[in-house]
Symmetry: C2
Subunit: 182 residues, 2 copies
DNA sequence: GAGGACATGTAACACGTTACATGATTCA
DNA sequence: TGAATCATGTAACGTGTTACATGTCCTC
């Protein structure tokens, strides 16, 4: 049950409409918890129903009309409860590792290009994170909120770095035996 | 669509019944693609329907009776196709990073113990991977299949190492401000 | 023959994904 | 007025999760 709490977090940072939330997910929170606009609208309805958020009463609630939400006190309480909750880490679930395992059985033909493509994609993601760090977290900003957001960003950077390192190892292992030849 | 291919891989390594597959997922393939027995039975039915696997004809197919499956040629072809397929890496989806972000908004109260607990769990997982490496991959075994399975295991080890490093950083940041005091 | 382990399966629901539908606003 | 964009929403489906149901085999 992470999506509702991701939405509560985003709305506490700034009250927003569904589409605004979607955009903010695409470029910030979505880096570690992505969601489509359909999921977000569905969940906004549930959160409102549950009394954790409410639509700002300024506008008439017509279809096609922008509808802004803000977090109610019960929503903040629920989010704080969830932050301290005990949740076991889920085992990783990665299709690429699975494909390497499968390649051990049916052969690594065709894997080389795919590994190189992933390597490039992770390089770009890492560059993007590093740009964010440089832009949003210059040395000196040290409020609690800044420190925690930087911590999260460091997680993303370290994860991408892991992928780069591992993909290099994978290419060294697989690259030369997965070319166009049989 | 990874589960069917995880099952094809497991069945190619060794024909099995549904429950045997469930056990093998719990202690091997499931480290990077977990599945419950209900998912596995459902998927075995679909794979048989699709003509990619078949039940070994030796036993009478009665409810409660063991039913072993093996991969048909079409299943091997499909798996090889999937290995070389182009699949974008999915953005990570991690509730703990999300909770840290939320803690930036509602405060990190109660996070310390949770971080320490995760740290301990990841230490154990890492130790387990290292035990597997020592037991199943002694230096010298160099068949293609061995090399690729070792590569996957190295991925798991590096990921756990990432978590340990990052959780230490997180504790340094959060540990002292999330105690029992307000 | 009763209990427990083994084994397969159903049912219901939550979450995520894709495609599409509908209405409002803006601007040429 | 027509097209583009903004904005909210429905519908259908696939996967993952949880709880439970049913049947067989072994052992005491």
């Amino acid at each position: 049950m992470s999506l509702p709490h991701a939405i509560l977090t985003a709305l506490l940072e700034k009250p927003s409409s569904g589409l605004e939330l979607t955009r903010r997910f695409d470029k910030s929170i979505g880096y570690f918890w992505s969601a489509t606009h359909q999921q977000i609208y569905r969940e906004l309805g549930r959160l409102e129903e549950a009394g954790l958020i409410r639509a700002l009463p300024s506008e008439v609630p017509v279809r096609g009309q922008k509808k802004e939400y803000e977090v109610l006190p019960a929503g903040g309480t629920e989010l704080a409860r969830w932050v301290a909750e005990s949740q076991d880490p889920k085992p990783m679930r990665d299709p690429l590792l699975l494909r390497i395992r499968a390649a051990g059985v049916v052969g690594p033909q065709g894997l080389g290009p795919e590994l190189r493509r992933h390597l490039e994609l992770h390089r770009r993601q890492l560059a993007q994170y590093e740009a964010i760090e440089e832009k949003d977290f210059p040395p000196g900003r040290d409020a609690v909120e800044d420190r925690l957001r930087r911590l999260v960003l460091h997680g993303g950077i370290a994860l991408e770095t892991f992928w780069l390192t591992w993909l290099e190892e994978a290419l060294a292992e697989v690259g030369d035996m997965s070319g166009p030849q049989a």
